[in-house]
């Protein structure tokens, strides 16, 4: 490798690391994920609602809020949030899988009716 290429490679790696690394303030989106992983879902909902206030176009916040609403049994709210997330990020495989799993579970549960 030529000597002149080395600083460029190292520099680009460091810039990439800096860009991707967690910021000192993780922000409400990340804080909500941490709360949810620790089973503090009400707190997670507050964080993700705040994330949407900060950035209404956040597909991630809509997706995460949908999961939390599913957890609370608010099917209409979850459906609304998943659909908003898909409108914003129609190609996200995670949102697609989440929404499909939610929809199939809801349909299966309601089919067991009298």
């Amino acid at each position: 490798m030529k000597r002149s290429v080395l600083p460029a490679v190292v520099l680009s790696g460091l810039i990439l690391a800096g860009g991707c690394a967690k910021p000192t303030d993780p922000g409400p989106l990340e804080a909500g994920v941490t709360a949810a992983r620790e089973d503090r879902w009400d707190e997670a909902v507050r964080y993700w609602t705040a994330a949407l206030e900060r950035d209404p176009g956040s597909a991630a916040a809509h997706n995460n809020l949908a999961v939390a609403l599913e957890k609370k049994g608010d099917w209409d709210g979850a459906s609304r949030e998943y659909e908003a997330a898909l409108r914003l990020a129609p190609d996200s495989p995670e949102i697609k899988v989440n929404y499909e799993s939610f929809r199939l579970r809801l349909e299966a549960g309601r089919k067991k009716g009298p």
């Binding site: 790696g13 597909a59 067991k112």
Partner: protein, 216 residues
């Protein structure tokens, strides 16, 4: 040359590790059950006494079941839960239920009959089977078990129409080595299993689901 390669690898690893930290997070979520009934289908549930078709000397299982169901419903159901005595007739006409509802909307009655019975059952003890003669039953010993059976013929009746919106016969069996196992003990075992199945039918069974949480 070697030091230069190490620097490049370290920079690459640092970048990779930092970026990986924002991958989606897979979580296992305990989701509530999905009720087969439409949301807000019921605002009030009235649990009647259950007609006892096999009365026991020291335990009124019809009355006990009414109290047990109501107690569970008060915890699981957001609406009002109240009690009502046993109807005079075994299968009251729709007009009876409509009249009992008194015009209250989205009210349902949970009613029905109950039978808690026991029998001693005999069986060959499997552990005594000789290895050289699986059909030598004479060398086996006989064991006795007490089987208690709970049968609940349950109906959910709409207060608006007076008609049943759901009806099912539930059966629970429990076998006990102790031939003196009392009825109240067996009722406790079997009614707990029955109530769990009923609530799963009524309110849906909770499940653990996988979902992805996004971080960016």
């Amino acid at each position: 040359m070697r030091a230069r390669a190490l620097v490049i690898i370290a920079a690459g690893l640092a970048a990779g590790a930092a970026c990986r930290s924002l991958d989606p997070v897979l979580v296992h979520v305990d989701m509530p059950g999905v009720s087969p009934f439409p949301p807000d289908a019921f605002a009030e549930v009235v649990v009647t006494d259950f007609r006892n078709e096999a009365p026991l000397a020291d335990l009124d299982v019809g009355h006990e079941l009414q109290a047990y169901l109501a107690e569970g419903l008060r915890r699981a159901f957001r609406g009002t839960v109240s009690l009502r005595p046993l109807p005079d007739t075994a299968a009251p006409a729709p007009a009876f239920w409509k009249d009992a509802a008194g015009g209250r909307e989205r009210l349902v009655f949970i009613t029905g009959s109950i039978r808690l019975t026991s029998e001693v059952r005999k069986a060959l003890k499997g552990s005594k089977v000789p290895i050289d003669g699986p059909f030598d039953a004479a060398k086996r010993s006989v064991i006795e078990q007490l089987r208690w059976t709970l049968v609940v013929d349950l109906a959910i009746i709409s207060g608006e129409s007076g008609e049943a919106v759901f009806a099912k016969v539930f059966r629970e069996d429990r076998d006990y080595i102790d031939l003196e196992k009392p009825a109240d003990f067996a009722f406790s075992d079997t009614s707990a299993a029955f109530r769990e199945r009923l609530f799963q039918t009524f309110l849906g069974a909770p499940t653990i689901e996988k979902r992805s949480l996004l971080r960016r």
